[in-house]
Amino acid sequence: MIKDTFNISDNNFEQCLKCTVCTVYCPVAAVKPEYPGPKQSGPDGERLRLKNPDFYDEALKYCLNCKRCEVACPHDVKIGDIIQAARIKYSKKKPGLREMMLANTDIMGQMATTFSPVVNLSLGLKPVKAVLDGVMKIDGHRTFPKYASQKFESWFKKTAQASQAQYKNRVSFFHGCYINYNYPQLGKDFVKAMTAVGYGVQLLEKEKCCGVALISNGLIDQAKKQAELNIHSIRRSVAEAGIPVVGASSTCVFTMRDEYPHLLGVDNADVRDGINLATRFLYSLVDSGKVRLAFRDDYKLHLAYHTACHMEKMGWAIYSISALRLIPGVKLTVLDSQCCGIAGTYGFKKENYPTSQAIGDSLFKKIEALAPDYVVTDCETCKWQIEMSTSVPVKHPISIIADALDVEKTIELNRR
């Protein structure tokens, strides 16, 4: 047997005291009896798999990789990592066309943005949806996020890049696939907010999809290549130029910080602290008195903040919540932290659709009952899920801040 190449501490699963609190917190175990739950899939299963790899249970594919089990564990067992590593190592199911299509956000995005009107139209057409559902097993209830006609990168280079030189502070922006191909507005909002407080934005030397969808769809070699490329670019910025890297998507940031070393064996120890989340970066600047924000008087909204799973795992929801609370006109309700059920590409798969909706059900009901103006969350796939499953639109906290900002006044405040 070749020694394990994945960086799960060899004996980490032994720390498990079998208390089962992980399974109590598992959103899947609660609604899907076929899933043995994190304790049995993780530390218990690992012991059996060490005895004989045939003990690998394909039911591990039902794991969302939300990592709520790891948050719940009182003994620091990397339960989610153990499950993901087992899937990588033992699963005999090879990724198919659907997995390739869902996971390759870069290739799909590149093609789709070029022909966005056609793609958006056809992805919404009933016959196309029928083919996706019937042949590809991508659930017909789902609608792919619309592709933008102009990529964020193209907009940035054309419109914003030249003016960034005037700022003495800098950040490198890891925009991720969603902002680049589907929702450039969030990227524009980020640039607006950062430049208002005197921070110039630059792109990374090179950026690829963080790879989270590749990992969850079993395309590990490709994920590893992209991780290496991203860490190389991040190293150029963080280690060589001393410029922090900031991303808006909680999942991209989490993946680059934690999944790279834990699941892909890509070492990021020297730059991990330099990879930050947009709301955390901005709030920390405010909190330490380095920058100040001024908001519009006429901005009055009721917002409900939804804590995405990877925000929970990083423990960073508090930064987004605190940032939103800076806005005087905002009435903020913090929803109980729970999984919405989408988990990236998981909920797109036909076989997972009922599970996905059952997991999110109580969340959707709470949102409907609360009827806020917007749900706010740091995760783009939570946005799709909540928008599909409720009548409330969803925004990113950076977009809320950008909207609420009195730009003139903020620039003035930070000039002093």
Partner: protein
């Protein structure tokens, strides 16, 4: 006193270890009317308290040619007839820098002389084959070692003895013999269930009680000079190695690491103990230290691996009749015909030997029994597979057993083809009782109904319930619930639960540090804090 008037047996076999169960099977297969009696549970003595090593015989090759060739023959037989009890892992004999590499040549030569395939392999190749092995090794020999599950092996022998008409009584202790005119004609058995003593008549009595055979012989008025030799072992939480790892040197303490089922076992020590200790052995701190210190030399990862528990067994060493002082000890098989030796007809003792040679011991004892009874039947146990390893036990087509892939696979490992007898029909039958070892409600119920299970310790030996990482923390109360349902007595199940947890604690106590200590503390919170059991509930 009651007299059991049901029947007269041809042979009463005392001792439910591998040897007694094997003898009962062999005799029953030859057409004898057999009664097998065990004072506690199958495999509760030395049979269940060793490495579970399917010896290739290599360990004895240099020092004891006869044992070595017996071992390799039995090894090959068990691979055929007890497939579901055996794991064909292979073994390494490694030479470390502190060992003499010259011993290797002598070792290989002796192995070959005994008929054991022993191949010298490159240390780098050994590391590739078994990544956990001490990387500083300077020599390695590959031999056909393996693992054998003594509980399964004994149970399979009992099941087959019953199929061939044997009567089996567990929790029955021999308290006396019926001897008429220098001929043994029966035994007096105390039934722990009914608390009554009964007489059972038989033409022959075979003493296969291991170290306790010393006392049995005394009861019969004959002297068998035995010496209890304690061997301590330690179980680790998971498999560190997948091949057996031995030291290539003269047999010494703690120089075998055996992977078996979900765990691995390091052992043993060797020390003489008084007879009074045989029923209740404790592993000392010195033994734990020694096992760890030597174990790390075989596989360094043991130093940081969670230890589940420590336990000890008693090897029955028999002084040869020519030397009652005990200086010349035989480790081979000892078959005593008390008619020719002591003038007591109808009494045979089979002892010495080892788990590996249980079948051969049974064959010798059954041969002598048949000779005395005038039965002219040949031994067939080397050719006829045990229940669980027989193709014909496979259900023809209908799949009655439908559980999670993991639980099914785990059950198949434990019961072989007998798994087909486990019927999971409802959702609750499929529920898991023991999560560490993946034992379902259906499997527990099967064991209770078909495999002589009266208490949780019996159940553990049949199914591995409570043998995993949590040592009963989650499964003990669930399993006790199934036993309460079967016995229709909640109080009995509750007492049994307390007893079981104390038995688990006994094994954890010598290694109670780190995660093992946290685990037992958590178990105590659950059972004492939440369920309100207390240690003094234990009778």
């Amino acid at each position: 006193m009651n007299i059991n008037s049901e029947s007269q047996f041809d042979a009463i076999i005392i001792g439910g270890g591998a040897t007694g169960a094997g003898t009962a099977r062999d005799c029953a297969m030859r057409g004898l009317k057999v009664l097998l009696v065990e004072r506690s549970d199958f495999a509760s003595g030395a049979t269940g308290r060793n490495h579970g090593l399917l010896h290739s015989g290599a360990r004895y090759a240099v020092t004891d040619h006869e044992s070595a060739s017996e071992c390799i023959k039995e090894n090959m037989i068990l691979r055929r007839v007890a497939r579901h009890c055996v794991e064909e892992n292979d073994g390494l004999f490694i030479t470390l820098p502190e060992d003499d590499l010259a011993y290797q040549a002598k070792f290989v030569e002796s192995c070959r002389a005994a008929g054991i395939n022993a191949d010298i392999i490159d240390p780098a190749e050994a590391k590739r084959m078994e990544p956990s092995v001490n990387p500083t090794l300077i020599g390695a020999v590959r031999v056909p070692d393996g693992s054998v599950d003594p509980f399964r092996l004994t149970t399979a022998n009992v099941i087959d003895a019953k199929i061939h008409g044997a009567v089996v009584l567990t929790h029955h202790e021999v308290v006396g013999f019926i001897i008429e005119q220098n001929r043994m004609t029966g035994v007096k058995l105390y039934d722990y269930g009914t608390k009554q003593t009964k007489e059972y008549r038989s033409k022959l009595v075979i003493n296969a009680a291991g170290i306790w055979g010393h006392h049995i012989a005394e009861l019969a008025g004959v002297k068998v000079n035995m010496f209890p030799a304690k061997g301590a072992l330690m179980v680790f939480g998971h498999r560190v190695n997948n091949m057996v790892i031995n030291r290539c040197r003269k047999p010494a303490n703690a120089d075998i690491l055996v992977p078996g089922d979900t765990i691995c076992v390091i052992g043993t020590t060797s020390s003489r103990v008084p007879f009074e200790e045989c029923d209740n052995m404790y592993v000392t701190r010195e033994e734990v230290d020694l096992l760890l210190k030597e174990g790390e030399k075989l596989a360094p990862a043991l130093a940081s691996t969670r230890i589940l528990r420590a336990y000890a067994g008693v090897r029955p060493l028999v002084a040869s009749d020519s030397d009652p002082s005990g200086r010349s000890i035989s480790r081979g098989i000892v078959l005593l015909d008390h008619e020719t030796r002591d003038g007591l007809a109808g009494f045979i003792t089979i002892t010495g030997g080892k788990l590996m040679t249980y079948r051969l011991m049974a064959e010798w004892a059954a041969d002598l029994a048949c000779k005395k009874l005038g039965v002219n039947e040949k031994c067939r146990t080397a050719d006829v597979p045990l229940p669980g390893s027989r193709e014909e036990d496979k259900a023809p087509s209908k799949k009655v057993y439908d559980m999670s892939a993991t639980a099914t696979k785990a059950a198949e490992g434990r019961h072989g083809f007998m798994t087909e007898k486990i019927k999971a029909e409802s959702l609750s039958d499929k529920a898991v009782v023991c999560e560490c070892e993946e034992v379902s409600v259906a499997e527990v119920d099967y064991a209770i109904n078909d495999l002589h299970v009266d208490n949780l310790v019996n159940l553990r030996r049949r199914t591995r319930v409570g043998m995993g990482t949590c040592q009963g923390e989650l499964c003990a109360c669930r399993a006790a619930g199934r036993l309460a349902k079967a016995s229709k007595c909640a109080q009995r199940a509750q007492d049994d639960l307390t007893h079981f947890l104390n038995e688990r604690w006994k094994g954890m106590y010598p290694v109670a540090w780190g995660h093992t200590l946290s685990e037992i503390q958590f178990t105590s919170w659950i059972y004492e804090g939440v369920y309100g059991l207390s240690a003094s509930d234990n009778k």
